[in-house]
Subunit: 351 residues, 2 copies
Amino acid sequence: MEDRASDKPTRPNLAAVAALAGVSPSTASLAFSGAGPVSDATRARVLAAAEQLNYGGPDPRAQSLRRGRSGIVGVVMEDRLREAFRDPMNIAMLDGLADELGTAGLGLLLLTEPGSGGPELSVAPMDAVVLVGCSTQLDKSVVALHQRGIPVVAIEAEHMPDVLSIDLDNRDATATAARHLQQLGHSRVALVTLPLEPTHARGELTEERIAGSTAFTSKERIRGARDVFPSIGGVVAAGSSVEEGLIAGRELLAADRPTAVIAQSDLLALGVIRAAEELGIRVPDDLSVVGFDGVRIEGAAPYELTTLVQPAVEKGRAAGVAIVELLAGGSPAPRGFTSEFRVGNTTAAAR
Amino acid sequence: MEDRASDKPTRPNLAAVAALAGVSPSTASLAFSGAGPVSDATRARVLAAAEQLNYGGPDPRAQSLRRGRSGIVGVVMEDRLREAFRDPMNIAMLDGLADELGTAGLGLLLLTEPGSGGPELSVAPMDAVVLVGCSTQLDKSVVALHQRGIPVVAIEAEHMPDVLSIDLDNRDATATAARHLQQLGHSRVALVTLPLEPTHARGELTEERIAGSTAFTSKERIRGARDVFPSIGGVVAAGSSVEEGLIAGRELLAADRPTAVIAQSDLLALGVIRAAEELGIRVPDDLSVVGFDGVRIEGAAPYELTTLVQPAVEKGRAAGVAIVELLAGGSPAPRGFTSEFRVGNTTAAAR
DNA sequence: AAGTCTTCTCGAATCGATTCGATCGATTCG
DNA sequence: CGAATCGATCGAATCGATTCGAGAAGACTT
């Protein structure tokens, strides 16, 4: 305790512990990691020395340099946290992902798209990266990651070379819902889509916007709707929330209103229903509404949304499994998930 | 030349780039970081060499070792992600935190309490840690962090030495709400509390459980209620959600029911209201309900909860600011936030 | 007693970059 | 014209640990 009074204000390192214990640094390392044959007596001496020096164990920074692994997986979401976490889908997915990664001892580093002022995607010590519903603008970042040899998994994103895809049948699923409406006799159908641009601008759904959009999921679902209703139009929401659905709904239902609405998320769908309620339009009698995701929303009662139930947790879990495999040197196959069409009480025959 | 020989399957490093560019590693480093005087010509040569070698820039792992900083801040939440993110409070707080840290270029690493199978709190290369509503069981982990010289900020946690506290007036706020009920003439009042143990067990609120509890926020709020109603009892929920509130409410309202309920979160409060609806008990006529948090909940209409509005985003932001200051070598002062009592339409005079 | 194994420990190289002080040439000042 | 100055570049030490091959000491066989 009195050994080195004040001439060593520096934090102890493994070498100091080893010196105090009278062993070499290599032996001390072995004693801590337990990765080699060390006599009990020696280990005890090392541990005692560590305690005396108030040494908290090997420095993770040094370990990650030496081992070439940091135990950290980056998750890039396109929105601000507040936006992204508003939708239960994202949370469910993140939960599956965290669960799978957690058991592998990997931590989750939250990142946002470059340029949003957050931590730079390229300077974080990550072992792998998950892209969640990200725009295609990430191309350059992905390239940078590849130069580093960091594997990339993308959930619902445009296919990119050397990026493992975890997909959802967005197009087919939406087409199924659209066909359902068609069979119910609806022909004046409108869309409420998720944001099409990184700016999250509201507004009418135009061909130009679709063409210029970087939002993969959104576009796929539009395609699905158009497989059935080729000229379907609608409005673009600024996010996935009930409020946005409400705003979109008010606009859609103001004049010359459709008999059915395809919303690209359950939250949006609920918002549209709220707008209908405001205007005295009955759902499903006067207006049919379908959603997407299949989340249970508090306060949706008495409505049971007609929607597409997607396996959100499973998607995240699959991404986690893929990452663990990739880090182990394997080459997992891409996965595609399918949504299940669930008929609720928000769609009915057109009148 | 011998550049593209196949005997080098290894990833290029700064030294290789420097060699190809015909400069020393130190100069190459300067060229990348821009932290020193380097001629334009040299920088260009280095960059060209990097491109030719497909070098993606300095390795973050090595940088963090050398600099002693990784740019990562750990966030420890007591629950599983799915649990924690269910409550809008946590998300709001996280948003404030992420916002503040993001502008400082710091990333957010999601961690769970030790023992929950997640990544070990002690092996992640973090510069600082935020504890969010964590139990006091973290003592040992906190000690370990301190040995490493990692500053710790705790949001609503029992005070610990060398841990910067960001607090909320949980006790006083709850007392204010309780007094409100008292003034309305209520005397048979019951509590619905947040979980008291890490196991998240439901059940009756007993003295033993309170005494053995590790949940700081929950206990503080109980104290506040008891400042007004010394012998108040109630039930413990297994989490902060409408479903849990519903379960708790059913139990509380089954027999010998109280005339008012103090729920420890808005979600729980809404659940209690739902339970009352089920049983044909009118709120606020037959039952007064107060919540805590002041979040806008979808589907709460027509109820306007009487609740305590807490500055969640600000709490997170304050933690972020504190961390940035701590990392800059400063010593920020602890902060205490106060909640604002907001009277809605869920409380009324006792009959 | 010589020889073969084990078991434990050590030395030295390595991971990839940063940074401080020194050097060297060229320009400028007195 | 010699000296002081300045900009650009380099060398070498350093951050803190891991790992592999080698060596030493003891246990066991024959």
